[in-house]
Symmetry: none
Subunit: 253 residues, 2 copies
DNA sequence: AGTCTCTTTCCGTATTGTGGAATGCTGGTT
DNA sequence: AACCAGCATTCCACAATACGGAAAGAGACT
């Protein structure tokens, strides 16, 4: 670890974090990768990659082709479905219920050190629909769930999670300064819900309601602006508000 | 590392293997576990468990309840679905082979918390053909792959995945009650394959064969009823049966 | 308030992983 | 066949890193 900062977030078990980096890089690439390729994508030396990869192969988390390249192993698929089941089984029925009632995609998200993470989802029935992936992390400043989650925190803590560098302007409506964000958060607290008016992706409208169940959480409904009329948003607000206590009961242990 | 053998297979990166042990123990237990409980299940000292678990929590692979117990995090679900997708591409050549032989669309699917997910596909050569999208999730109760996947589970678990509300009647032949479904699943188990007689979309016929390769999977052949004659269905059954062991070899450990 | 259990932090130690460099493959090209 | 990249893999001396016993802290229960 010569130059630059020692490690992105230097508090955990180093080799474990590196192994996770490996898995994630392979996951994003969606295709087999060789040691050299992995080395340049992670910044780790080839010898280190090789050692970590062999460990993961031995346990079935990676698999190696004859041409020596690696890809994600099926052990991960098995663990993944267990993980999905653990949280899915709790809130999923209610999310599905909401998605059926509103006909748009419903998401459940939680606050993590770097962004809002989707932990549950139920797709609407339209063929053009929002597509979100459970496990995916999205920015806090430019999404409905992100802003809703921030609104649960005192201003002081919210700002600490929003490094100004991270407030990327994705669309013309994206909030890009801490000052604007504080105003927005005050509005969200007053109304009890957050709106995303195409702040992450143009033409996408979203309403998100925050709540606390063990951790900070938010439920949202999102879809193309054409279908997400003020009328539907209002219906969604009422439905999400009604669902909130049930979600708290389901998710808090 | 005093007496007792250091580790089952002592050649990998130690802390990474221990972290994987942790994930696996939690996965098998399918429920939240505390540090002490994990400690007794893995043989690792509590301090070590705590350090590893914190690292995994920071990265989203584990989540912690307010009562401090840990459970599998949604990041694993994300990686798992990627792994599933990659496995699909492993099987692609065989799917293509089958599609060429039978001249109809061949699909590979896996079981997810909300539906069967297509992870591989190879289209038949006819211009009117089934169109399925890799990554798309379809209902369990009204599709060949869905029913085939359900047949792998004990009745009890299968029913839990089938909320009566979700058993939408898409066509006159759609199975809409748990009772009917249990009868159907028994038939599928007896025959070793599932049929879909236009239960999702009228005029579409499908045969699906279930198998287990680390996770629950199914291969299917589907096409317009006009071409999917009993004779072709029988040929497909034989071909899929023959392909099954190869698929298991390709997709499992 | 007091006790018990379980989790978390601390810190000195040496085990363990590290990575640059050397070696060994492999498959593509002339 | 023989050569030559461009890889992956092994080696090894070093010290950074993870380790775990013990102590401190947090809840829960009586």
């Amino acid at each position: 670890m010569s130059d630059a900062r020692p490690n992105a977030r230097g508090s955990g078990v180093h080799s474990v974090e590196r192994a996770l980096d490996l898995l994630e890089v392979l996951g994003e690439h969606s295709g087999p990768m060789g040691v050299t390729e992995l080395s340049s994508n992670t910044g780790l030396p080839a010898a280190t990659i090789h050692r970590l990869a062999q460990t993961l192969v031995a346990r079935g988390y990676l698999r190696q082709l004859r041409d020596r390249r690696y890809y994600l192993g099926s052990r991960l698929a098995a663990l993944g479905s267990r993980a999905g089941a653990m949280m899915g089984s709790r809130a999923q029925p209610l999310l599905r219920e909401l998605a059926r009632e509103l006909q748009e995609t419903v998401n459940l998200a939680t606050l993590t050190p770097d962004g809002a993470e989707y932990i549950g989802q139920s797709a609407g029935s339209h063929s053009v629909r929002m597509f979100t992936e459970v496990g995916r992390r999205v920015p806090l400043h430019s999404t409905g769930v992100g802003k809703a989650l921030l609104s649960l925190l005192p201003d002081h803590d919210a700002l600490r999670l929003l490094r100004p560098d991270d407030m990327v302007q994705f669309t013309p409506t994206t909030i890009t300064t801490p000052q604007q964000m504080l105003v927005e958060l005050a509005t969200i607290r007053a109304h009890g819900f957050a709106m995303d008016e195409g702040e992450m992706e143009q033409g996408v409208r979203c309403i998100a309601v925050p709540f606390v169940a063990d951790t900070y959480m938010a439920v949202s409904v999102s879809g193309p602006a054409a279908r997400m009329t003020d009328e539907l948003v209002e219906r969604a607000r009422v439905a999400l508000d009604a669902a909130r206590p049930q979600l708290v009961a389901m998710l808090a242990d």
